[in-house]
């Protein structure tokens, strides 16, 4: 079979596992699973610029913007391009959103040892959650950065001023957080990480598909919703296969898989009512805002520096 290499398509994230199987079944293209995070994917295609390994890459929107700026990706407008709302795609097709999710707390209730389910960012700083909170490295993983942006906004900061987020992370350090390098979905399921800063879709999948007593919490102070995007890597080794993969993830079938995995597909009509029914009520989602992704991307580097210098 043909191969196409996708960076950052982990089977335990956003149900890429099902998606990859569907791609292979329907197009005959084998896409191996890959456990990088967004930052690592960007770094890899940067390092491999002269001799790329990957064909397509999946990452948080800000990384797509950076990749496009650095000329690491090429333009491609897949089928259903026009259905992607403006602002969620690069005009030249160098990146485009495929789905989005809302950041919150993914809580394994059974692993809390009787502690109440935390409801706010400030709850997480309480000693009763000592050693229980996990988050991915905000200077590398997109979900980590989104967490930082979310807590920052919720605590009164802005994209120009990350001080509230930095403060919050510093306080969190006193609570012995766990900082895995990669997607840690399964470790929440197994109770190893009782509370993880993660997206709603992962939490719902854990609760409804994997049948674990997991709750998703949208923190009281607010949070953000962010899109995930994909790009075709410049000078990639299997461009034809890569394009087919991109076409597929935006196809009806591809989008339906996301929808069934509790994501919000980028094509408006693709949502799955059955899945939607299992979401938290809209009143909770009202606390989730959006931000200017271009500015969010621009601010990322400075934040990473600050985080690395001041928190670590």
């Amino acid at each position: 079979a043909d191969n196409a290499i996708c960076y950052n398509c982990p089977p335990e994230w956003a149900d890429w596992g099902t998606q990859l199987k569907a791609i292979e079944a329907d197009t005959g293209i084998h896409v191996p699973q890959d456990n990088k995070n967004s930052g690592q994917s960007l770094a890899s295609i940067t390092a491999e610029k002269s001799n790329p390994v990957a064909d397509v890459v999946y990452y948080g929107v800000t990384f797509g913007i950076q990749a496009a700026e650095q000329g690491l990706v090429q333009g491609y407008k897949p089928a259903h391009w026009d259905e992607i709302p403006d602002g969620l795609k690069d005009p030249d097709g160098r990146w485009f959103a495929i789905h989005s999710g809302t950041l919150g707390f993914m809580v394994n209730v059974d692993a809390l040892n009787g502690a109440p389910v935390p409801q706010s960012w400030s709850d997480l700083l309480k000693p009763e959650y000592r050693g229980m909170v996990g988050y991915l490295d905000p200077s590398s993983a997109f979900v980590g950065y989104v967490g930082a942006v979310a807590v920052n906004g919720a605590l009164g900061g802005s994209l120009d001023d990350f001080t509230p987020a930095i403060e919050w992370f510093r306080k969190l350090q006193a609570n012995d957080p766990i900082v895995p390098k990669q997607t840690a979905y399964a470790r929440v399921l197994s109770g190893e990480i009782p509370i993880l800063l993660d997206y709603d879709f992962n939490a719902y999948r854990a609760r409804y598909d994997d049948k674990v007593n997991v709750q998703f919490v949208i923190p009281q102070e607010g949070t953000v919703t962010v899109p995930y995007v994909m790009s075709l890597v410049a000078n990639d080794p299997h461009p034809e296969a890569g394009k087919k993969v991109l076409d597929y993830v935006l196809s009806d079938k591809g989008q339906a898989i996301w929808a069934n995995a509790y994501l919000r597909p980028v094509r408006p009509g693709a949502a799955s009512p059955e899945a939607q029914a299992k979401f938290l009520p809209d009143s909770d989602y009202a606390r989730a805002g959006t931000v200017d992704y271009a500015r969010m991307a621009a601010a990322q580097r400075a934040f990473s520096q600050r985080y690395a210098n001041e928190v670590n």
Binding site: I5, C6, N51, Q182, R187
Partner: protein, 271 residues
């Protein structure tokens, strides 16, 4: 000789404690790998489901690891045995330097070696995406172990004199190498081979940077599973890995028990 009782008690206690420290977690992992829900405990029942799941997800990494190990073994044997003989034959300064150099990829952290390989050979066409790239890394890392093991075998057998004896009997260099030197170093070669395969199957530090999604080896898969899989799946995968190591380690110890001489470098997986 009699030993002081304090010595013996301290030694026995320390030994048992260390053994428990080293083997306890392994037992935990084995248990977790066959427990239905480790969070609940053994009471949730035993199952092979996790191992089946590991097979579904990671069978390719297991085969690939065997392939890489065998290729590494072939190369290290073909270039390592002659090199060991030359080092044995010329016990001078230059040989010590050469051996010191060959050992550098072990002395220097694997990460550095991997980075160096990527920056200098990563842009060479097909190499970066092929398993060969990983094999190269593994050969660099395991070659010193092969050379040391074979050399230890050769020195034990007093091979230089045997070679001279064969020469006076009229044997050509080629004949001597295959008739005398290789057989006499046999136990060293077997030790080296088992060491190389063991190390290659477990190599992570280099492989983690050198692999691509299509060239994942078992430890890479392990790392993936540790990061993102259920504890039970990760444990089951670890269990599979331990089962692969077991015959190799048994073989190594069997040889070590039979021959009195060991190579200085010993075994030591990448950490």
């Amino acid at each position: 000789m009699r030993h002081s009782r304090f010595d013996t008690r301290l030694g026995l206690t320390a030994t048992l404690a260390v053994a428990a420290f080293l083997i306890g977690p392994v037992l935990l992992s084995v248990t977790a790998g066959v427990t239905r829900n480790y969070f609940v405990g053994l009471s949730s029942g035993l199952t092979l489901d996790w191992i089946v799941q590991v097979w579904d997800l990671y069978a390719d990494t297991i085969w690939r690891s065997y392939g890489v190990a065998l290729a590494t073994l072939a190369i290290t044997t073909i270039i390592g045995v002659p090199a060991a003989w030359v080092l044995t034959l010329f016990p001078g300064r230059l040989s010590r330097l050469l051996e010191e150099l060959l050992t550098l990829p072990v002395a220097v952290p694997g990460l550095a070696t991997a980075l160096a390989l990527i920056v200098s050979w990563g842009s060479v066409g097909w190499l970066r995406s092929s398993v060969a790239f990983i094999v190269i890394g593994h050969v660099l890392f395991t070659l010193p172990f092969m050379v040391r093991a074979v050399r230890a075998g050769m020195q034990g057998a007093d091979l230089v004199v045997l070679d001279e004896a064969a020469a006076t009997l009229g044997a050509s260099r080629r004949r001597r190498f295959f008739d005398i030197i290789v057989p006499a170093a046999r136990s060293g070669i077997v030790t080296g081979a088992l060491t190389v395969v063991t190390l290659s199957i477990g190599e992570f530090n280099l492989t983690w940077l050198l692999h691509t999604p299509l060239t994942k080896t078992l430890p890479v898969g392990l790392a993936d599973s540790y990061a993102s899989m259920r504890l039970e799946v990760a444990s089951a995968y670890t269990l599979v890995f331990l089962l692969m190591l077991l015959p190799l380690m048994v073989g190594l110890q069997w040889i070590a028990a039979r021959s009195t001489r060991h190579g200085g470098l010993g075994l030591g997986a990448s950490t």
